[in-house]
């Protein structure tokens, strides 16, 4: 019986140990990682934000900050700055822009635009816009593209028109909507007109091929301009020429391309066929692009491009601005920006989309200066500093 008691004792102690011993830390607010990546640099550009998209359903959109004055990179700062915001930044950050004293993050799969103080990133308000994509500003209003317009069923297939929402930047209220094409992506504002790149990307058999033109005064669509299938980005240079990217389609006859459209002459003035652009950045007369070519037949990526186009001559001046061979480090080049003062080129690598990416900084000589790990899918840059032009890359 003694033995029996001993076993009882053992069982009781073991159960207690399991109860108490299996400890679990409560989730603590994320303390940003601080990494020293370069020597301090004192220019009118004090730093930049980098918005990491995070893969769908992961709720891992995050904000990083690079401080030029200390050369340090801070990963994942939103939680510490805004500890009271439930569920952090959200799911899939798709754009980051500043206007006046506010910065705006478009969080696609959280169906909202997050408004923060610029440049402290203190949370002000969320504005609900379903399936929102990109944002631009004009005379006290923000304009946001969205995929989630009215639905119609054509045969057995759903089609959903997109729209542009107009937000008052002081009251932070949505004041109007203007319907455009299917799945509208980037937009650009030139001469009181909004140019919206329609993609139609939900239905690869019926891709959109046009730019929608919205007259701001009447806030209605006034024109469609035929460009190329599956449009994505649109940026205007100082001559009023729109640089428009096409992702291309499934068919061999629809390779990705870059198109220059002159808003004053109202015609296409240049076309770079078979020219894949994932992201681009306009700096004066230089258009920096990064992209990857996809081989439909072999079902694989067939090459990367890090190019510079001279927008005054409309010619490709450099087909690989990385000269030290470090382009081989990239898996999926995803975002690009150029420091408006030093002209350093910042390029991100999205890696596998579900694991942390990389940010690499290149001098104008194409040699890598530094690199740092980012959040998941690093993509959108926003410069901070006295250099006002920094964030008005397009006007």
């Amino acid at each position: 019986m003694n033995k029996t008691r001993r076993i009882y004792h053992f069982v009781a102690v073991a159960c207690l140990a399991l109860l108490l011993g299996s400890c679990r830390n409560e989730d603590i607010i994320y303390i940003p990682d601080e990494v020293e990546v370069s020597r301090p640099e004192y220019t009118d550009v004090e730093g930049f934000f980098l918005l990491n998209e995070g893969n769908m359903q992961d709720n891992k959109c995050s904000l990083d900050y690079f401080d030029y004055t200390s050369g340090t990179y801070l990963r994942n700062i939103f939680g510490l700055i805004n500890p009271g915001v439930v569920m952090d930044m959200g799911d899939v950050g798709n754009d980051l822009q500043a206007y006046g004293t506010k910065m705006w993050a478009v969080v696609n799969c959280s169906n909202k635009v997050t408004v923060m103080q610029y440049p402290t990133a203190k949370f002000i308000k969320d504005i609900n816009i379903p399936n929102c994509r990109y944002i631009r500003f004009h005379k006290g209003y923000a304009y946001v593209t969205s995929y989630a317009g009215p639905v119609e069923k054509v045969e057995r297939k759903y089609q959903q028109q997109g729209f542009v929402a107009k937000i008052d930047t002081t009251t932070l209220q949505v004041v109007a909507r203007c319907l455009v094409g299917y799945q509208p992506d980037e937009l650009e504002i030139v001469d009181d007109k909004i140019y919206v790149a329609n993609s139609g990307g939900y239905d690869l058999n019926n891709l959109e091929t046009t730019i929608s033109v919205i007259d701001i005064a009447s806030f209605s669509e006034v024109e469609r301009i035929e460009i190329a299938p599956n449009l994505h980005r649109v940026r205007c240079d100082k001559r009023g020429i729109l640089w428009i990217t096409s992702r291309g389609g499934l068919l061999e006859t629809m390779p990705p391309c870059l198109v220059a459209y002159d808003t004053r002459k109202r015609r296409v003035v240049a076309r770079f066929d078979n020219f894949p652009v994932g992201d681009m950045w306009l700096d004066g007369d230089r258009l920096y692009t990064v992209g990857e070519a996809w081989n439909e037949e072999e079902q694989e990526w067939s090459g990367m491009a890090f190019s510079i186009i001279d927008t005054s001559t409309m010619t490709l001046v450099d087909d690989c601005f990385i000269t030290d061979g470090s382009d081989a480090l990239f898996q999926h080049p995803y975002g690009v920006a150029v420091n408006p003062v030093t002209k350093d080129i910042l390029v991100t690598d999205a890696m596998s989309y579900i694991t942390p990416g990389w940010l690499r900084c290149y001098g104008q000589d194409g040699v890598m200066k530094w690199q740092v790990r980012t959040g998941d899918i690093p993509a959108h840059f926003l410069f901070v500093g006295k250099e006002k032009q920094a964030n008005e890359n397009n006007d």
Binding site: S22, R24, E26, K60, R247, T355, P356
Partner: protein, 674 residues
């Protein structure tokens, strides 16, 4: 001499009838040491009859969590998808067999074990590698891990011709779950059973997400209700059982029809999801097993299955979808065992399988697959040594089309031929002690599924099969005694090394935004230890205590990209959702007609991707479940009342990132037997 090699089978209570009237009258039978012919070189982990019932869990997935080396992917709630991964090889490598014939899903390879209630299940057996019993169809040799679900068979006591029981379960999540089972004896050699079950639940439960400051004060703390986890499901099964001179046969019909909500991920500003799924599964299958002579035994299996799945996304903030998929499967098998010498058996099995898939997707490839499997297996015994070797030849022919604007522009025809071997050895060094040393090695592959290969936009027709190589060494000891405190004891320890190559994973694709495709780029190295202990104790008169403890330690390293190192790198990182430490404890105490159960599951810290950094860290989770049951008897009638409290300490946890699991929940079961 084979007799000398017979060891106590692993199954406690294997021969114990379910907790019907039998358990009531034969209480001291609850722990029975079935000493049965040991035809398997490496026995299974098993849960059966009484033990299953005592676990109180209400579906097969819940029960499987108690096995060593298992990771359950659970999206939460009554209707949430639950799939099983064994030893981190990936859930597509698991074969799930229902009454001896594999459940197929050529579309995505996933078998949702949450769909199978324990109501009609007599035994769950789990084998790593394969069931090392050579007399089986070729398909049984074709998985890296196998789960066998055995449904209840009619047993008639005291000259009865009918058994009937009616069960009603209710509890949290708005659950109403009635079922009924009728068994009828048609003759000495013929009986049938009918079983029906209805599951209704609104699936609602509270969950809580929160963040704290490092000093412990709350930063934010939010509680919400999990919505769209509702389910309505109907299951009907009928089976006929017969026996012949030296043989047996059975045939069954299965029908399952359900509508459920897909609860979806909880992310910032998205607390509700509205996706719906309808499943309709139908199959008929039959088995005939016959001993023709002392030296020859044969088995035939046949199955036809038709599945329909409809998925609807009505959420206008996402791509709107309304897709329907139809699958067909035809399966024929013959297995033939020849006893060449008393200690030397040979089995030759040939299977044929046909699968097709059709969908209402644009430009769908409408694939069909013909699979021919030929297996040769041999078993040999000499003194304490037992060995089995098998080889599986797989011939696969896939046909699909390429469409442009719904017109067929090309037809494709592809062939694969693969040979995969396996070797199992066990050795009992001492005749007097039931101690076995065992080892196995197996190489097997999984075919890319139809979705992997041909799903519109995502599929990649250039995929190759994904391979797993397994090595395992282990030891098992067991003893039983008719009297004394320790009625029975069984201990096992296994160490293993698995290597997954050409792992099929989703990677970003170049075809526009948010598009992915499948590629054969993954490599994983898995090393682990599984320990299990089971003891049946007699702490006092008329009191039985059954204790079961499992523990697994595992490293599953992502070897895919050797250049992705340093902070945030994936190289050599622990792969997604595999904990280093996991384990379970199950205890059942029985006294006369009263039973009390306790179970505990522990899953240690994990990362949700193989970049093992704090931003990807997942908390450990562990739940304590308690249950009690009592059986009232009057005459030939019995009423069993069971109550359970699951997740007693109301732990808030996610198994999968952003898929919150239920907190404390309750269940009440009434089972009436007459």
């Amino acid at each position: 001499m084979l007799v000398a090699l017979w060891v106590a089978a692993t199954a406690w209570g294997q021969d114990v009838p379910e907790a019907t009237l039998d358990t009531v009258v034969a209480i001291d039978e609850v722990v029975v040491w079935g000493i049965k012919p040991f035809s398997e070189v490496i026995p299974a982990q098993r849960l059966s009859g009484v033990q299953l019932e005592a676990l109180g869990s209400h579906n097969v997935a819940d029960a499987i969590r108690y096995f060593a080396g298992i990771q359950l992917k659970d999206y939460g709630g009554v209707g949430g998808i639950k799939t099983v991964d064994m030893r981190s090889m990936g859930s597509n490598h698991m074969g799930v067999f229902y009454d001896g014939i594999q459940l197929g899903n050529a579309q995505n390879g996933q078998i949702d074990l949450g769909k199978f209630s324990l109501d009609n299940i007599d035994e769950i057996a789990l084998y790593t590698g394969q069931r090392s019993d050579i007399f089986q169809p070729a398909r049984d040799f074709g998985n890296a891990g196998t789960i066998y679900l055995k449904t209840k068979r009619p047993r008639f006591k005291d000259g009865r011709r009918d058994n009937l029981d009616v069960t009603v379960r209710t509890g949290s999540f708005g659950l109403f779950n009635p079922s009924a089972r009728w068994e009828h004896k048609l003759g000495e050699r013929l009986s049938f059973s009918l079983n029906g079950e209805l599951t209704l639940a609104n699936g609602k439960y509270h969950f809580r997400y929160r963040r704290r400051f490092s000093d412990g004060t709350p930063a934010w703390d939010t509680t919400a209700v999990r919505h769209n986890g509702d389910i309505q499901a109907l299951r009907l099964e009928g089976a006929v059982f017969g026996s012949t001179q030296g043989g047996s046969w059975n045939a069954k019909v299965y029908y399952y029809d359900s509508e459920r909500g897909i609860p979806g991920a909880i992310v910032n500003n998205v607390w509700l999801n509205s996706q719906r799924q309808w499943d309709r599964n139908f199959f008929v299958q039959g088995t005939w097993r016959q001993r023709v002579s002392d030296r020859y035994e044969t088995m035939f299996n046949a199955k036809y299955a038709r599945d329909r799945m409809r998925y609807v996304n009505p959420d206008t903030t996402l791509l709107l979808l309304d897709n329907t998929f139809h699958q067909n499967e035809l399966y024929l098998s013959t297995a033939n065992k020849v006893t060449l010498m008393p200690d030397w058996d040979l089995n030759l099995a040939v299977d044929y399988k046909w699968n097709s898939l059709d969908a209402t997707l644009d430009n769908f490839a409408t694939p069909t697959r013909h699979t021919t499997l030929a297996a040769i297996a041999t078993a040999w015994a000499w003194r304490g040594l037992k060995a089995q070797a098998s080889g599986l030849l797989t011939l696969i022919n896939d046909r699909h089309v390429t469409r442009r604007a719904e017109d067929i522009v090309a037809s494709h025809n592809k062939w694969w031929t693969k040979f995969t071997p396996a070797l199992f050895v066990s050795y009992q060094p001492f005749a007097a002690h039931d101690l076995n040393v065992r080892a196995f090695a197996k190489r097997i592959f999984r075919m890319p599924t139809f979705n992997d290969l041909y799903y519109t936009d995502i599929g990649n027709a250039t995929l190759r099969p994904e391979y797993v190589t397994q090595y395992n060494v282990g030891v098992q000891y067991q003893r039983a005694s008719a009297r004394g405190f320790l009625a029975a004891l069984k201990l096992t320890a296994d160490a293993y090394y698995n290597h997954v190559t050409d792992k099929i994973i989703a990677v970003p694709s170049g075809r526009g935004q948010y598009r992915w495709m499948m590629m054969n780029i993954g490599k994983v190295e898995i090393r682990g230890i599984d320990l299990t202990a089971r003891a049946a104790l007699r702490p006092a008169r008329e009191v039985e205590l059954d204790l079961n403890v499992n523990y697994t330690y595992q490293t599953a390293r992502d070897m895919t990209d050797p250049t992705d190192t340093g902070y945030g790198g994936t190289y050599r990182g622990q792969i997604a959702y595999v904990p280093w430490h996991s384990g379970s404890v199950v205890g059942q105490l029985t006294w006369r007609r009263l039973g009390v159960n306790y179970s505990f599951i522990y899953v240690g810290e994990r990362y949700h991707v193989s970049a093992n950094i704090p931003a990807n860290h997942e908390q450990p989770w562990y739940t304590h479940d308690l249950g009690a049951h009592y059986t009232f008897v009057w005459g030939r009638h019995a009423l069993k009342v069971a109550a359970e409290v699951n997740n007693v300490f109301n732990q808030q946890y996610d198994v999968i990132l952003n898929f919150p699991m239920p907190g404390r929940n309750y269940r009440l079961t009434l089972k009436w037997t007459l």
